[in-house]
């Protein structure tokens, strides 16, 4: 819990989940997960819909009761605490701006709840709007703003409580691709400047890779793997992680399941070889993506350098010999 004023730098809080469980009747949405997010980290909860990532976020926020286990923010167990006493602030997927209040009053809402005087809270709200570049829209109602602008206001409203942890529920999914990239940069900048802990729910692996220090891949209420993005990409623990983060081929070999990065597969080279036929190919500018039919793999992808591919172009239906080095085959837990 931080109530510092003035300086604008707030220390982040650690977030720790201990055997955290959420059950709705007989269905278990989150199944005894353990996780520790360091203070000031950018953590992405990544997974397909229904994997429990949103339930986890809502439990951290205090909008969902904890069924079992403990939730620690800073060094306090906060299981039963109301949202505002946890030092967290949440940015909702639909932004949830109050439609009857202008931007200033939306941002000042939490200060009003605390009983801060009108002048003071408006002044602080305008400062916060300036921080997210929305100062000139202070008098507008949410309905008069675009999606991206609404999001900035929602961000300002979350940040004005000076939270130790900022919780973001799919913050970029409602934006068009261009704005999404811009807001991604903006989030990263805010994270760097404020130094607080960010926990961000997403189903996009690109978003998680681009933003997070700690990516937590979830599936069916459990954590499949948690680690820095590079570790996840280079050493996926399970077939699910390898498939979900993309860019990998999961292959049944003599030693069991293993993953090979699509960009490490060579045509006509490598220590381990197999045959396939070209099913589809896509030109991506810098690279060419091939989909192959290969015995023993459902879907085999190869990413080739553009110039190298066009030195000896292939067409659909062409037989190819593919191979990879032993060191690039990464064994997976089953």
């Amino acid at each position: 819990m931080t109530t510092g004023s003035g300086a604008g730098t707030t220390a982040g809080s650690t977030v720790e989940l201990v055997k955290l469980t959420k059950a709705y009747g007989a269905t278990v949405a989150v199944d005894a997960i353990d996780l520790r997010v360091a203070a000031g980290a950018y953590c992405c909860l990544l997974g397909p819909s229904g994997c429990g990532k949103t339930s986890t976020l809502r439990m951290i926020a205090g909008h969902e009761d904890v069924s079992d286990g403990d939730l620690l923010i800073g060094d306090q167990v906060v299981n039963g605490e109301p949202p505002a006493r946890r030092g967290t602030a949440m940015m909702f997927q639909s932004y949830a701006l109050f439609p009857h209040l202008d931007c200033t009053d939306n941002v000042a809402f939490s200060l009003k709840m605390k009983g801060v005087a009108v002048e003071e809270r408006r002044r602080r709200a305008r400062e916060m709007l300036d921080l997210v570049d929305m100062g000139k829209y202070a008098a507008r109602l949410p309905a008069q703003l675009s999606g991206g602008q609404q999001q900035r206001v929602a961000l300002a409203r979350a940040l004005i409580t000076r939270p130790g942890v900022l919780l973001l529920d799919e913050p970029l999914s409602a934006l068009d691709p261009f704005l999404r990239d811009k807001m991604r940069e903006e989030l990263k900048r805010l994270h760097r400047e404020l130094g607080i802990t960010f926990i961000h729910v997403t189903h996009s692996q690109t978003e998680a890779m681009a933003l997070a220090d700690l990516v937590v891949v979830m599936s069916q209420g459990r954590i499949e793997q948690a680690g820095p993005p590079r570790e996840l990409f280079n050493r996926p623990r399970t077939a699910f992680v390898a498939r979900f983060i993309g860019g990998h081929n999961v292959i049944q070999s003599a030693d069991g399941l293993c993953a090979v990065r699509a960009d490490r597969v060579q045509l006509g080279g490598g220590d381990l070889r197999t045959d396939g036929t070209v099913r589809a190919l896509e030109y991506h500018g810098a690279s060419v993506h091939l989909s192959l039919d290969v015995a023993g793999a459902e879907d085999f992808a190869v990413i080739l350098d553009e110039t190298r591919f066009y030195d000896a172009p292939l067409s659909i239906g062409a037989p190819v010999q593919i191979g990879w080095n032993r060191a690039d085959a990464h064994p997976l837990a089953s």
């Binding site: 505002a84 949440m90 909702f92 939490s110």
Partner: protein, 310 residues
């Protein structure tokens, strides 16, 4: 189309062959007339059932009358007598008092019931069931619902005898029936649902994430209600208020039955004048009442913009 075109062209043009000019003129004329035809059914209905009756009342309000006949004329005596009589002012005051009390009580009840239904009942099917339960009283007529209070509230009624039997009181409570209390009670009973429905409707449109966002910002339960739910329910409150206020302002039967003839309302005053065949006086009274109610509605619409609800 063909027929008109043929008529519009000279005889030597074979029938069935339209001249280009005639067709264009026809189409242009049709385009001018079509919107009026489309608006006609509503316009005719409103003219027949709203405008003509009101104009009739307005015209009659300037007629003269004596004890046996109504005399077509243009006199201002009806209005003069009405506005200078202290009885009128007292009755208006009484009616406005009933309307204000009923409005305040139905507002509190309506908001509470709608809030409970909208925010505390989790399942949609239970919401619908409980909402239908609210409408059950409407399966019987207003008069029956009013009259059924009489055996309950009377001097030897259920409530008094129960209280006496329980030793809470020695004497029957006189104020329960044939009093302002019983009038307002009946009004609230009859009209509370008109407040519940539009407020419930407004509340169901409130995004539940707003409540969570308010809680996230540290709002306590009552602060959420006061700062988020109440402002966003305003259109529903305005619509409900218009229903309740206009119904109470125009009522005469509830006052007559529940006050036992001891209290009056403008509606009752008009009903009495009609029974004495004083139609012009009743008409003048009705015109003034209409003006007052319209002013009240206009005042409410100035406070709240209900357009987003319609």
């Amino acid at each position: 189309m063909t027929v008109t075109a043929t008529q519009a062209t000279p005889g030597h043009v074979p029938s069935g062959q339209t001249q280009p000019g005639g067709g264009a003129v026809h189409a242009r004329r049709w385009r001018r007339v079509a919107p009026y035809l489309q608006a006609a059914p509503l316009a005719v209905t409103l003219i027949l059932f709203l405008l003509i009756p009101i104009l009739t009342i307005l015209v009659v309000s300037f007629w003269d009358y004596d004890s046996v006949r109504v005399i077509p004329d243009f006199v201002l005596t009806n209005y003069a007598e009405l506005l200078t009589s202290p009885v009128t002012w007292k009755t208006y005051l009484n009616t406005v008092k009933f309307a204000a009390l009923t409005w305040a009580i139905t507002l509190v009840i309506g908001f509470a019931v709608a809030y409970f239904l909208a925010f505390h009942i989790r399942s949609t099917s239970w919401q619908m069931v409980l909402f239908l339960v609210c409408t059950i009283p409407f399966w019987t007529s207003n008069i029956i619902r009013m009259i059924s209070w009489i055996p309950f509230l009377g001097r030897n009624g259920l409530l008094n005898s129960t209280l006496i039997a329980a030793g809470v009181i020695d004497q029957p409570l006189e104020f329960l029936l044939f009093s302002d209390f019983s009038v307002v009670l009946a009004y609230v009973h009859l009209n509370a649902l008109f407040m519940v429905v539009p407020i419930f409707n407004s509340m169901m449109r409130i995004d539940r994430a707003l409540v969570e966002a308010a809680r996230d910002a540290g709002a306590a339960g009552w602060q959420v209600v006061w700062n988020v739910i109440l402002p966003l329910s305003k259109p529903g409150i305005a619509i409900g208020s218009i229903f309740v206020v206009t119904l109470v302002m125009g009522d005469f039967i509830t006052v007559r039955l529940m006050s036992g003839g001891q209290s009056a309302s403008i509606g009752l005053m008009i009903a009495n004048e009609i029974s004495l065949l004083q139609y012009p006086a009743a008409a003048a009274n009705a015109v003034i009442l209409l003006a007052v109610v319209l002013l009240m509605v206009a005042a409410m619409l100035r406070v709240v913009d209900i357009r987003k609800e319609l």
